[in-house]
């Protein structure tokens, strides 16, 4: 692999709090990968927002237990449950994030925890480049050894 095509932008190892924002995301990559593992002080749900926007998200998922769900024009993307007993693992791709044409900024990927796993597809229709990503919970706090990392993927030229 050519050097420097998959680069860590920022890493966060939260031990408290219910929200974290990756801000001032550089615009010199083609795509982003948000991955890591999260553990909470109790059972709850994890959500994701782009650019601090609190509306107009569409999302749908398939659960590995065979279920499915979807929601349109809501305030955040539901990326799955969180637990206090194990590290939930997630890997999300955010493609074409720096585009300024009006299009759907897509989030696709997987999140697996105790008794569930989502294959997730979601989007936010906007003409703004994505400059921040926030992950927050429905109430429980992040605990150790949670870790969140945002990677940038650069086209090799």
């Amino acid at each position: 692999m050519p050097t420097g095509t998959y680069e860590p932008i920022a890493t966060f190892s939260p031990t408290s709090g219910t929200s974290y924002t990756f801000s001032s995301i550089p615009q010199n990559y083609t795509d982003l990968v948000l991955s890591g593992s999260i553990k909470m002080s109790g059972t709850g749900t994890a959500y994701l927002q782009l650019n601090g926007i609190g509306s107009s998200y569409d999302w749908s998922y398939l659960n590995r237990t065979g279920g499915k769900n979807s929601n349109d024009q809501v305030g955040a993307i539901e990326i799955g449950d969180v637990l206090s007993t194990s590290l939930g693992s997630f890997h999300l791709n955010i493609n074409n994030y720096s585009a300024t044409a009006l299009l759907n900024k897509c989030v696709i990927g997987y999140h697996g925890w105790g008794s569930g796993m989502y294959y997730l597809g979601a989007g936010l229709r906007t003409s703004n480049a994505i400059t921040s990503i926030t992950i927050y919970t429905s109430g429980p706090s992040f605990t150790s050894p949670s870790k969140l990392t945002l990677y940038g993927i650069r086209k090799f030229t």
Partner: protein
């Protein structure tokens, strides 16, 4: 900036078939592990789900829990078939009934593998044509840093020549 996505080790089955591929020891200086598998087994059906992942040589089925859902061309139900019985760390393989050049594709992701906590392994992949797509998660019952991974065939089956296993380490600094 230095590479953050490093190939730790790889293995290609050649000549005699084998029932397991082991990566041991796994360096502890990465943040996450990503594994890419393309495999075939010597079973006579369109796909095989007899593929396991074992952590740190822990071979007791009850030591793992998780589950997966799957899609097949013949499935038309609105609810995906799924399986949560042990053993559970599974991906799909191509088989003898596939064309000789048809191998499965599979991706496995293990973040925070050195944490010593109970980490969920997530995976997705499948096998075509006449095949199956799977996605799911699995986790050990107790937390420990992952120092070895075993990719194993059960039910007397083997990985056959051409199957490939690539283990990558991902750094977050």
């Amino acid at each position: 900036m230095a590479n953050t996505f490093d190939l730790i080790s790889s293995y290609t089955v050649s000549g005699s078939s084998t029932n397991q591929v082991i990566f041991n020891p796994i360096p502890q200086n990465y943040s996450d592990l990503s594994i890419y598998i393309s495999s075939r087994t010597n079973v006579g059906s369109s796909y095989s789900l007899n593929n396991l992942i074992q952590i740190n040589n822990q071979s007791t089925a009850s030591s793992y829990s998780g589950g997966f859902a799957y899609f097949r061309p013949e499935d038309s139900n609105s609810t995906l078939p799924s399986q949560t019985s042990s053993p559970i760390s599974i991906w799909a393989s191509g088989t003898n009934d596939n064309d000789a050049n048809v191998f499965s594709f599979n991706w496995i992701y293990i973040p925070n593998y050195t944490s010593g906590d109970v980490v969920n392994i997530i995976y997705a992949g499948g096998n075509q044509p006449s095949g199956i797509q799977v996605f799911g998660n699995s986790r050990p019952s107790t937390g420990e840093a992952i120092t070895s991974l075993t990719f194993k065939q059960i039910a007397g089956l083997n990985f056959i020549a051409g199957s490939t296993f690539y283990l990558y380490g991902i750094k977050n600094t």
